[in-house]
């Protein structure tokens, strides 16, 4: 979509925005990186298209305090993350010019991205203008995103244990999942903080692997938009989204449907309650043991 590029260039040139966050193409077909463009000349290498899979919302944090406005190109699902960051007062809406970019489903060298198979639709939650086309408005063929979680739930506890040990034991604690996550925006993560008492730098034991991933999932529970970046970036191919989706599934079932990043309600399922909520024992009473 060349029009995104020309529109961004226009806004950069007329001074509406000071900089643009978009994508730049490298050597190979699928070698696209998020990139910063500050001059019209730099904009020559701006691209948008099939390999623009990364969620640029998180980069906005870097420019929240920067001088002037920042233009950011967001796909429909990325706007959920951006909006969630607005809910959490982590971003100043006034500092950003959002081009909502139409999306036909993104891919990498191995084909359609896993996260796009669970596309949450083509609506933009927050934007200044939308640039899309007929094709990108068509809904994607998706499957029920909770299938993976449901399959695990059907297993026995022992099978689940073996499954997750197999997956999590590969974790090298590179922190890619955390660092890419638009919900993980702590200025100091508890796992990096020597004063927190739970700081850890390497998954030395099974426990440390479990601890990191359980707590990370818990900390983003209710705030995670299910953008799928964690699984996409994991160099060890751990299906981390299955942890976050478990919380999403549980919260939807127990506390009513909630999609983080939608609307203006700032409360999440974990910062609200009803007097009739299920007791924690519900967890132990349902399904397979």
């Amino acid at each position: 979509m060349n029009s995104i590029k020309s529109r961004a260039l226009e806004l950069l040139s007329d001074g509406t925005v000071k900089r643009v966050i978009g994508w730049e193409k490298g050597e190979g077909e699928a070698d696209w990186s998020p990139a910063l463009f500050e001059t019209a000349e730099e904009m020559n290498s701006f691209v948008y298209g099939d390999y623009a899979g990364s969620n640029l919302s998180k980069y906005c944090l870097k420019f929240n305090l920067a001088e002037g406005k920042t233009l950011v190109v967001l796909k429909p699902c990325d706007t959920l993350s951006f909006n969630q960051l607005l809910h959490e007062h982590r971003l100043n809406r006034e500092k950003f010019y959002i081009i909502g970019a139409g999306c036909k489903g993104m891919k990498d060298e191995n084909g359609r991205l896993l996260k796009c198979n669970a596309c949450k639709g083509k609506d933009f939650e927050v934007y200044d203008e939308i640039i899309d086309d007929e094709e990108s408005r068509k809904p994607l063929n998706v499957f029920d995103r909770m299938i993976g979680v449901a399959e695990l739930e059907k297993m026995t506890a022992e099978e689940r244990y073996e499954f997750w040990r197999g997956e999590l034991s590969r974790c090298i604690r590179c922190n890619a999942c955390r660092n890419v996550c638009p919900a993980c925006t702590c200025v100091k993560c508890v796992f990096d903080n020597p004063a927190s008492g739970v700081q850890s730098k390497a998954p030395v034991t099974d426990f440390e692997e479990n601890m990191f991933h359980i707590i990370r999932a818990f900390h983003v529970a209710g705030r995670c938009t299910d953008c799928g970046e964690c699984s996409r970036v994991c160099p060890q191919n751990i299906p981390l989204h299955l942890l976050n989706r478990k919380f999403i599934k549980d919260m939807n079932e127990l506390y009513g449907d909630h999609q983080a990043g939608v609307g203006t309600e700032e409360r999440t399922p974990l910062t609200s309650y009803t007097k009739e909520d299920a007791e924690p024992s519900v967890v132990h009473e349902r399904g397979n043991a």
């Binding site: 966050i21 490298g26 050597e27 190979g28 070698d31 696209w32 990186s33 998020p34 990139a35 910063l36 730099e42 990364s54 998180k58 980069y59 870097k62 197999g166 997956e167 590969r170 090298i172 604690r173 590179c174 922190n175 890619a176 955390r178 660092n179 890419v180 990096d192 020597p194 730098k201 390497a202 998954p203 030395v204 996409r232 970036v233 160099p235 060890q236 191919n237």
Partner: protein, 337 residues
């Protein structure tokens, strides 16, 4: 020169009387693991997902243990490696990486944990008869056709050709069931490897100017800002890198005693070498610059021109945002001017 059929490689490995570490499958990945019956050997894998660095310098290892008994302290040092072992099927780039690690850990003061492992290991290398587009090892004085190891293997047709170059290597190979071979095929395949390398996209990068002389020029380049923007500050590249050798030493207090261990650290992390006053690399730009300046400028200027990149291409594959050292070399190198 000796040779044995490719189909016999498992027999050879199983005949080795000490632990053998080799590229094996672990789920969807290939890592250097201790070979056991039933594992899937993947000698064909170029740039394994985890590097053989893990064997010499594991992601974490215990150094010592303290124990308080009442108000007295008892200290036990962790044992150094005492058992011989073999690393099998290592590629030239990863062997070059061992040399980089040696520069760090075997120069004074010697790291005795590392030294013991290095001493007890025998390295069986495998020449790269196939390559990936991400390979660029020759830029860093690596010869993929003739790795510098105790034993080198070449896969030619259905046979492995092998040659021992050290006493350790000869002692190991002595027990293998091999037969005499001609030198000719190996010489031929070396030529083929060279030719194949020439066709790679990053075969020849211009490294002119990546030296101590141009340190400040590189350091002050305005390009770092754009280069580093997309960096998430995760440690994927450092953990996938065969030469990254930074570590942290930490204590784990179990209540029954304190385990002092070291684990990999990453210059990409915001809490890397954190000091009382904070950090001297406050943003990702400085951290990103540090990693590449170290590999391409600081390390060679302190180590007779030896780069601490070996061109294995893993960072190209692993970076979630498609950043890598090649982009840095191209952006900051002479060609970009």
């Amino acid at each position: 020169m000796r040779q044995f059929p490719e189909s016999k490689v498992l027999d050879i490995i199983q005949s080795i009387p000490c632990p053998v570490y080799a590229p094996v499958e672990d789920g969807s990945m290939v890592v250097y693991g201790r070979y056991e019956d039933g594992m899937t050997l993947r000698l064909d894998k170029i740039a394994t997902d985890k590097t053989p660095k893990d064997i010499l310098f594991p992601q974490w290892e215990n150094l010592m243990h303290f124990r308080m008994e009442g108000k007295t302290i008892e200290l036990t040092e962790e044992k150094r490696m005492e058992e011989d072992y073999v690393i099998f099927g290592v590629r030239g780039c990863d062997i070059q990486a061992f040399k980089v690690l040696d520069k760090v850990f075997l120069s004074d003061p010697i790291d005795t944990y590392y030294a013991a492992r290095r001493e007890h290991g025998t390295i069986v290398a495998l020449a790269c008869t196939s390559m990936k587009d991400t390979c660029f090892c020759k830029n860093f004085s690596v010869d993929p056709s003739q790795p510098d190891a105790d034993v080198v293997l070449w896969l030619i047709g259905d046979d492995y050709y092998c040659e021992a170059y050290t006493d350790k290597g000869r002692a190991l190979m002595e027990k293998w069931d091999t037969r005499e071979a001609e030198d000719g095929p190996v010489e031929w395949i070396k030529g083929e490897i060279d030719k194949k390398y020439e066709s790679l996209p990053f075969a020849h990068l211009n490294l002119t100017g990546f030296d101590g002389e141009h340190l400040m020029e590189k350091f002050n380049s305005p390009k770092w800002k754009k280069l580093s923007m997309a960096c998430l500050g995760c440690g994927s590249c450092t953990f996938a890198c065969p030469t990254c050798q930074c570590y942290d030493i930490r204590d784990y207090d179990s209540g029954n005693g304190i385990q002092r261990y070291r684990c990999w650290d990453s210059c990409m992390y915001s809490d890397f070498t954190l000091m009382a006053h904070g950090t001297n690399r406050p943003t990702q730009l400085e951290r990103y610059r540090q990693r590449f300046m170290h590999k391409l400028v600081y390390f060679p200027s302190n180590n007779d021109g030896m780069y601490s990149c070996v061109g294995c291409g893993r960072c190209i594959e692993k970076c979630p945002m498609n950043l890598n050292i090649v982009k840095v070399i191209k952006a900051l190198g002479e060609d970009a001017k």
